[in-house]
């Protein structure tokens, strides 16, 4: 069964450093997402991406964050200058939905997550 994969599983970085979290969504999926989960808290939406552009982003997703689909398979989240409060589990998700089909949606499948620790 196809699944979303994420690398690395754990990333440790120093405050102020740039990090890139990588995701390979399921191959026939069209929508891509990043969520984060601070330890002990609920999962929060960061950004959605469709047709090579951001569809929606939350207030968490400030100028320090960016996303990219550099090729046909990878989907990346970059944090330009990490802060202590960026320490969290970051989940990538993808769904098959075609937004041109009004009223449709599809299930989001999540990757195993990347645990980011900022020291």
């Amino acid at each position: 069964e196809p699944e979303v994969t994420q690398t690395p599983s754990h990333q440790v970085t120093q405050m102020g450093q740039e990090v890139i979290l990588r995701c390979v969504p399921i191959s026939n999926h069209l929508y891509f997402y990043w969520y984060r989960q601070i330890l002990g808290q609920k999962v929060e939406f960061l950004v959605s991406f469709y047709n090579n552009e951001i569809s929606e982003k939350s207030e968490i997703f400030d100028d320090q964050f960016s996303v990219e689909r550099p090729d046909g398979s990878n989907f990346t989240l970059k944090i330009r200058s990490t802060k202590l409060e960026d320490s969290a589990m970051y989940f990538c998700a993808s769904s098959r939905d075609d937004s041109t089909k009004l009223g449709s949606t599809d299930t989001q499948y999540f990757g195993p997550g990347t645990r980011l620790t900022v020291l």
Partner: protein
């Protein structure tokens, strides 16, 4: 904006018992989707079950079923014949059919199945 509330931070039952996890939500939309995701200690998010709001019939998936009450905006998850492997955090999530269809999650319920 949509909100999702899970009022039970923790629950604990014996193996083979039935357990029901509660979830309420708030939305002004008429059509939407609701999901239950399971997060075991590995912290991966695993889909358990999904419900389309336009369907009156409650979704079922083997030992997992939901009680969807649209008017009350309630979406509970019932786990029958619970197993040790069901031990996990369970998150209820709301999915809009509008816009980018981001998911809005509840705070989670930590479920422990005891032998």
């Amino acid at each position: 904006a949509q909100t999702v509330t899970q009022s039970q931070p923790e629950m604990s039952v014996q193996e083979a018992e039935t357990v029901t996890l509660s979830c309420t939500y708030d939305t002004s939309e008429n059509n939407y989707y609701l999901f239950w995701y399971k997060q075991p200690p590995s912290r991966q998010m695993i889909l358990v079950i999904r419900q389309e709001a336009y369907k009156q019939q409650n979704a079922t998936e083997n030992r997992f079923s939901v009680n969807f009450q649209k008017a009350a905006k309630s979406f509970s998850l019932k786990i029958s014949d619970s197993q040790l492997g069901d031990t996990a955090m369970y998150f209820c999530a709301f999915g809009s059919i509008q816009g980018a269809q981001k998911l809005v999650f509840g705070q989670g319920t930590r479920l422990t199945i005891n032998p």
